[in-house]
């Protein structure tokens, strides 16, 4: 993008085009550079993904005998039509979308505010905040959920003590409270990565550029909108899309918080697919749910992906 070339000093504009055009066609070089990564990604994701889609058109339930898969009974679109006419599917989808939206919105907003705050504070304060964030980031979801479960425990939890609800309020019963705790664990765990990545992106904004804009009379809003935002946009886009992917598939937090047996009101599409596949043995249905989840995620993130492609589509 043109805004990405802003950091280059004025005057190089003419000199750059010729060599840049030359290096764009590097013969075999780009393929060689890309191949190790693509090989690993395709090996781990590609083949299993194809198998998964095939299974969603079959009626297959023997997880232990994988070799019998792909020789299973073809059922055409039966899995899909059954699922799409099931009211539980639409309820679960709605629940997944709503909770994921809240999680993404909260973690992106809080993360961005933290990153902006880190620019405003003295070095020692930034160290303290970064230290706290890294500590939070390095706690596995399994453990952080156990801590939250313990903190929100009806009898022994500190939250009830602090709120004065001791021994009275059970947080894991009603839908709103339960999801509130889930969202709290997820957002608490997600903000460190968002803020640290955003801060790293903000450090890429050259101070001269900001000063030049200020000297030219831009106010803070305009500086953010026209100078800072274009430079950090790739990071914002990737963090938003990743958050959507991750928050659509929240699993450990829900599963552990409700002691491995979440009530159906706490199902999201991922939990539901797991329960169908691993507890009831309907692997065909489970893969169909997963395939639908991927389609929904794709539809939601298409605008972000298109922007990412446009940014990444610009070789320089």
């Amino acid at each position: 993008m043109t805004d990405q070339s802003l950091p280059t000093p004025v005057g190089t504009g003419r000199g750059r085009s010729a060599p840049a055009a030359k290096r764009r066609h590097g013969g075999l070089a780009p393929y060689l550079l890309l191949s190790p990564s693509l090989l690993i990604i395709v090996a781990i994701f590609g083949l299993p993904l194809i198998v998964m889609f095939i299974l969603s058109f079959q009626n297959w339930s023997q997880i232990n005998e994988f070799s019998s898969a792909l020789k299973g009974q073809w059922t055409g679109f039966t899995n899909y039509t059954t699922l799409l006419t099931d009211s539980q599917f639409w309820q679960t989808t709605l629940r997944t979308v709503v909770t994921a939206t809240l999680m993404v919105g909260l973690s992106m907003t809080i993360g961005m505010l933290f990153a902006l705050l880190m620019r405003q504070v003295s070095t020692w304060a930034r160290y303290i905040l970064t230290f706290a964030l890294i500590l939070v980031w390095s706690i596995p979801a399994l453990v952080s959920t156990l801590v939250f479960q313990w903190m929100f425990n009806r009898q022994y939890g500190i939250v009830n003590v602090l709120l004065g609800y001791n021994n009275v309020h059970d947080w894991l019963v009603s839908s709103i409270d339960g999801w509130g705790v889930v969202i709290a664990v997820v957002v608490w765990g997600a903000t460190p990565m968002v803020s640290i990545m955003m801060y790293a992106a903000l450090t890429q904004v050259p101070s001269e550029l900001v000063e030049a804009a200020q000297l030219d009379g831009a106010n803070r809003r305009q500086v953010f909108r026209h100078v800072i935002e274009p430079i950090i946009r790739p990071v914002v886009l990737i963090m938003t899309s990743l958050s959507v992917f991750w928050d659509f598939q929240v699993f450990t937090q829900i599963f552990v918080l409700f002691s491995n047996q979440p009530n159906t009101q706490f199902y999201n599409l991922g939990i539901w697919s797991y329960v169908e596949g691993w507890q009831y043995g309907n692997y065909g249905v489970a893969t169909t749910i997963t395939a639908c989840t991927m389609v929904i995620m794709l539809v939601i993130t298409i605008p972000y992906l298109r922007q990412l492609l446009r940014i990444g589509g610009d070789a320089r």
């Binding site: 993904l49 198998v51 933290f114 303290i128 939070v136 500190i158 990565m193 803070r220 800072i228």
Partner: protein
Amino acid sequence: MSSSTAFTPAATGVLGSESKDASAARVAVARPRSRRKQYVRWFFNLVAVAIAMVWIFPIYWMLLVSMTPIGSIYSIHPQLLPSGVTWFAFSQVLHDPDFWTAFRNSVIVTFSTVVISTFVGFLAATAIARFRFRFRNSAIVLIMIVQMVPLIALIVPLFYIYSKIGLSESLFGLVIGMLALSLPFCIWTLRGFVAGVPADLEEAAMVDGCTRVGAFFRIILPLVLPGIVSTAIYTLIQTWTEFQLTNFMISDQNHFTLPLYLNHFLSANQQILYNEIMATALLMAAPIVILFLLVQRQVASGLTAGAVKG
């Protein structure tokens, strides 16, 4: 937050010493405002410390639980401050040989994944940022799309393929799996940093007598170092704490990583030994935090970005 002193010279001073002259001049002109600016900075410092305390509270709570004797954990009136401190849980974990086996495995897997992922990811990022070639957009789309594939759906087919080629139960196979999980993000993030370095800079260095390799090490590497550090930290934490994939690939206790050790510990005991679980989790987090503090210092001490100036 961005509404008060955002992007004044004092605030952007973090970015590099080059702006010092300019900011000094501006401060001299705007002296009456500088005292207010200091108050504002102190206000933000307080906000930052308050947020840090809120965010760290659950971890403080973990520490408290890990230092409480198991009998007193189930107390009707939990206290904010410890009443009796015991290091029993920590010494219990540190004296468990299984913990050290898992620690060693985790170090091997994480170290290999971080090194390979950063290197291989950097190559791919250079290809995408600097070259135009066929299938370039398809490669970008592929890298993005694979991140939305739910792991749970992949695990059964992946397990089958792994056992066919004899990679299940091996740390090597685990590293390959971890690489696939971390590479897409690494490639994408590094692409941004490589694209941020003007191609002229490299050419100018070569005109001035640097070899291509020399130009890479002297010019490109220092400029993309913040990107490398942040992707390495991402990969480090992702790999160190990864549970789902590892859980399906590894069942032999000799190949357990720390998250599996923790999970095994959780399911092996009838009553949940909260104090020892929390102690284990804190011991797990410690190396990451120490490493980060070491790296953070280096990054802050001058190799900061914003040096993309030419």
